[in-house]
Structures are given as structure tokens and as C-alpha cells.
Assembly symmetry: C2
Homo-oligomer: 340 residues x 2
DNA sequence: TTGTAGGCGTTATCAT
DNA sequence: ATGATAACGCCTACAA
């Protein structure tokens, strides 16, 4: 690997001059510029980014910590592609690090990014508490932004979506359309998102003066299989319900399948709403309504803010995103269903 | 940020000693070790990986170039999560770089990884020609592996899946089950994968003495919408067909939807096979057969080989993967269908 | 406009 | 067992 010194020798100038030519800063005569470029060409010279970053203590890289359990399908790919695209448009690179399966490992991932001297860090947390993240933001001297969580202290360093509100909104939509017995399939309950969606559901019921029936709340694990199992449990329990609110589309899909197998029509007999609005779902199940989780918007905003911080700008406080309920035929009122 | 020198001062030793303690190489008395650790703790010291990498010219990072058009759903997320997991198990990090929309940009992505002094590079190419990749492998002095393409020169630096073979295999399966008029929905024809799958289809027909009917070959673009459009074109053209082979599952899903809308039953009237075997598809369409693309296996193998090279090992030549045809009810022979 | 020299934070090779 | 000291390759005042 040829270095800057090699180029300098070949061009008959000093390292500093080569550096100037490359960075475009400082004055350099056109003549020497040409010589230098020629030498660069001849030497097949390529700058060593490690050395440059060390010297400047900048890396033009933004780290993203995502925890493994999220590495799933459309949601994840949209998150990543959005981040990569947006950063790239700013001449920066994305470094993706896996937060794996625990708070400790999420901490390590952040530490790694820190040790790598990333210009900024985006955390899409799974196990880390908001308080700890507030601490991390305090300690770290470069921009850190948290996605999908509302922080207590550093309110402008996070961006989130009102999951409780969307649980409330979608439940309310079902109620308004005449549903009284609405089953709810939860996500993994170690996830704040799952908890918030459930609480929105409960609150909407209470607000409408409807009872919260625990037998209609079935634990799921975000997967299609767990959605199917939930419906199976519902049917086995002989529950009466005319609608199902599943905490994500994958589970809604699993639920749909079980309903079909049981000869229960959607939406004629029962209505289903999911969350996330994955693109292929409505293609297959026109009847599936969904609450669109605004991942791309959130990621996009987070990156804008990091870049703004790096450029010495201020952070906005507009950090709460709302998700949009996309109603399809599904929510038309079905008959109260007592499965056979 | 405190440096090694700070720690050394605090502990009353030299930088070199601190370095020894940290790396575990060389002798250092237990006593000084303790002092150093204490000093590290007090100073909140964290090693600067940039400096370390510069000094060692190693980065413990492996770069992965994936082109944007692949940033899609399950296939992509499986690719990434597999890579991240496997590398992590070897104490290394994944750096994901976007190859964007052209050969030039793919080149730049590789260059970037090179300049970053990654220990190795994995290329999942889209626009780069195999010849150019052979050149790149020649020039680069660290491990480079290419996924999903068969190279001419560096046969052991690539790993690929026999897409033609799987097109052949799935077409043959349909023929064996009595289908004579098999429609084919292509992928984007600028993709070698799409071309190979199509050629497998044609070859299987010819081998069985069946005519290749161009009117049954409809161009698609990998998306569900294009799959739906393809079926629409098929129906509009009044074509007779009892089976559809779609070049991926997303298009198969779109095709299924159109068939349903047209009142054509799957598999009773027509059989459908897709490619990739995305996990939610069979959940939605039990009748959808699919050819499983062995992404995870390929990525896993590629990483093993890179790690082996880094450790001075040899490369295996077992670099051809076969995909598995997963038959569901779909391929039972349907009646020759002349759409109304 | 160009060159010199010191620094970025490590590692690694010598001595001691 | 420990300490100087020279790399690693680049940037950046400061001088010339």
C-alpha cells in the first residue's frame, strides 16, 4: 500500500502539499496539483481512513444499534435501508451493530461504537432502560439519539411513536363500528411497545364503558405462529368475539390463517387489525387493516437531527410521531361470533 | 477522553506497561496489573480503536456490500442477521455498505471498505460483472468473497446457488405432475438470477419435449404488484395455463391475489410455485410451493471461509449450493385452464 | 505557495 | 518485569 509520503516523493513535493491537494484546503498551484494527481494515479494511492480519522478524530460514520430480535422481515429492512440511504445522502456511512439478547450486550454495542469514534450513535433499544440511556447520553460527548422510546431527561434526544395512542385509536375504531367483544393478541411482554399497545386497548375499552375481559387477551410473541396459536386458544376457550386486534401484522397473518381454517370469514364473521402495515400483507389479505408504524419517518428524523448536531445546530423538540390507522374492509362490523 | 498515557501516569507506570496489561501479552507483575486496572477504572479509560487499528493494521471488521435493490423484506433481513450473528461469534463486527444503483457505486462501496482497512470484504453484487470482481480480488490483498455469482478465475472466492438448476427443478416438478402449459413470471431481467431462473424453465420444457411459448413468459419486477400485473396480462391475453412459476415469492403472492380476484382457485384450477420461501408466505397461502434460496447457508459459509483465510487457512472449493424445492399442495395437477 | 515538525493513541521492538 | 522510542499514515499550525 502506497502512502502519502510515496506520492509526495513521486511528485517531488511534501506530504503537506499532497494533503492539501486531497482535502482541497489551502492554496496549491495548479501546476503542482497536476503533478500530485499524476503521482496519485501512478502510485495507485488510496488514503488510509484509519489514519485520517485518528488525526481528525472524525469518522464520517454513524453507528446504529439494533437488537437481534428486531432483525425481522420488512420492518427491519425498512429501518436499515432508510438509515443507509439518508446517511449516504450526507456523505456518511452507517455502521450496524447487533445488540443481541440483553441489556449488557446492548451496552457493549454502544461502547464499541464509542470506541470506534463514531460521529454519532442511534440506539433502537430493546433491553436498555430509559434511565440508563439518559445516563449514556450524559456521558457520551457526541450525538446520541434514541428511537422508539421516550426519555425522561433528554427529551430532545429521542424520537418515538405513540404506541399507546395507536392501540387506543385502533380499538376505538373497532368500537365505533359496533364491536363489543374485541380479542387482543399481545406482543412479547418484555417489549415496551407491546405493553403500550395493550394499555391503549384497555384504555379505549374503559373509556367506552366496556369491560376488559382478560380471557380475550392472549399473549403472543410477534410471530405468525404465535398469532395462529392465539386464535386457537381463543377458539378452544369458547370465547365470543367479533374482532381481533393483533399487536403486529405477522401475528395478524397467523391469526387470519387459523380463522380461515376454522371456517370463520374475515371480515364477514370477524374483523382483524394488525400493526406495522407490512407491504405484502394487504396484498394477500385485503381485509387486513393495520396501524402503520412510522419507522422510516422516525429514522429519517433522527438522522437529520444528528447531522444537525454535528453541524452545530440545535435539536428540535418535535419528537413524537403518530402512526396512521389504515382501515380496509376488515373493520366493518361482523356478527358477534361464538365459535363452534 | 482519557488516553493510555493518562492511565500510565495515574498508575505510575509507562504506556508500554498499560498496553501489556490490556493485551495480556508480555509479563507484568500482579501488583502493577492491579494498579493499572485501578487507574483504568478511575480514569474511565477506553481504548481508541482507531489508533489500535492503525498501529496493528487490523480492524476486526468485515465489510458487506449489498445493493439497495436487495434491501427488501425477509431475504435481506435474513442475510444481514445471519452475517452479523456469525461474525459476532468470531469477535468481529459487520460493516454494511450500500452498493446503491450502479456498478460505479458498487465499486465505490468496495473502495470505501478497502480504505477503512477492513479485514475482509463480502460482495453481494448486483451490477458488477464477474470479470471485474475477479480483477478486484486480484488487486485487493485481503480476503474478498463474492456471494451469488460464479466467478471465472477465482472459483474459490465465490459461493453461489444454482438458480438455473432450481428453475429447471421446479419446472420439471410441474411437468411431472401433469402440467403442460406453465406460465413464467420473470424477475427484473437485469439480474443474472432472473435470467438463470428463466433459462432453467426453458430448458426443462425443451427437455420434456414441450414448446416454449413466449406468450406465457411475462416480465415482472420482483414486486407483488408486478406479479399481479403479470397475471392480469396473462388473463387479458386469453392464455391457457394450469400453473404459474413466479421468479420470487413476492410476485407469486401478487399473482395469487389476482387469481383469487378472478375467481380462479389455487391449487384446484392452477398451481403456483415461487422462489425464496419467505416465511410468512405459506402462512398466508398454504398452497404456495417455493424454492428455498439458501441465503443463510451461503452467507455463513462465506464468513467461515474469510475467517479461515484470515487465520492462514485454505479455501475450500465446495462453493456451489443447491436450493431446495418445497412442495405444498400447490403442485397437484390442476385442469388446463382457459380463463374466462 | 510550499515545507517542517509535532501530534492523534496505539502497538511493538529494543534495551535495561 | 518495565521503560524508552520508533513506527502506523494522516492532519495542521507555524515558518519560510
Amino acid at each position: 500500500m502506497s502512502t502519502m509520503q510515496d506520492v509526495a516523493n513521486k511528485a517531488g513535493v511534501s506530504k503537506a502539499t499532497v494533503s492539501r491537494v486531497l482535502s482541497g484546503k489551502g492554496y496549491v498551484s495548479q501546476e503542482t496539483k497536476d503533478q500530485v494527481f499524476k503521482a496519485i494515479e501512478e502510485a495507485g494511492y488510496r488514503p488510509n481512513l484509519l489514519a485520517r480519522n485518528l488525526a481528525t478524530s472524525k469518522s464520517m460514520c454513524i453507528g446504529l444499534v439494533v437488537t437481534n430480535t428486531l432483525y425481522n422481515g420488512n420492518y427491519f429492512s425498512e429501518l436499515i435501508s432508510q438509515a443507509a440511504k439518508k446517511l449516504d445522502a450526507n456523505g456518511r456511512q452507517l455502521i450496524l451493530v447487533d445488540g443481541k439478547h440483553s441489556a449488557e450486550e446492548e451496552r457493549e454495542a454502544i461502547q464499541f461504537l464509542h470506541d470506534l469514534r463514531c460521529d454519532g450513535i442511534i440506539i433502537y433499544p430493546r433491553f436498555l432502560s430509559v434511565d440508563e440511556m439518559d445516563d449514556i447520553i450524559d456521558k457520551y460527548n457526541k450525538p446520541v439519539m434514541v428511537v422508539n422510546r421516550k426519555l425522561r431527561k433528554h427529551q430532545s434526544h429521542c424520537i418515538y411513536c405513540d404506541h399507546k395512542g395507536s392501540g387506543l385509536q385502533s380499538t376505538r375504531a373497532l368500537i365505533e363500528r359496533g364491536h363489543r367483544n374485541i380479542a387482543f393478541i399481545t406482543g412479547s411482554m418484555d417489549s415496551p411497545t407491546a405493553i403500550e399497545r395493550l394499555s391503549g386497548y384497555k384504555e379505549a375499552l374503559s373509556a367506552a364503558g366496556l369491560p376488559v375481559n382478560d380471557a380475550l387477551i392472549i399473549p403472543g410473541k410477534w410471530t405468525p405462529a404465535s398469532g395462529a396459536a392465539a386464535v386457537e386458544a381463543l377458539l378452544a376457550g369458547g370465547q365470543t368475539f367479533s374482532a381481533i386486534l393483533a399487536s403486529n401484522d405477522d401475528m395478524a397473518i397467523g391469526a387470519m390463517k387459523k380463522l380461515n381454517e376454522a371456517g370463520i370469514a374475515v371480515p364477514a364473521d370477524v374483523s382483524v387489525i394488525g400493526f406495522d402495515n407490512i407491504p405484502t400483507a394487504p396484498f394477500l389479505i385485503p381485509a387486513l387493516s393495520s396501524v402503520k408504524d412510522p419507522v422510516s419517518d422516525m429514522v429519517s428524523e433522527v438522522i437529520s437531527q444528528i447531522i444537525s448536531m454535528l453541524d452545530g445546530g440545535y435539536l428540535s423538540d418535535q419528537n413524537k410521531f403518530v402512526s396512521e390507522l389504515i382501515l380496509r374492509e376488515s373493520v366493518t362490523s361482523g356478527p358477534y361470533l361464538k365459535p363452534r
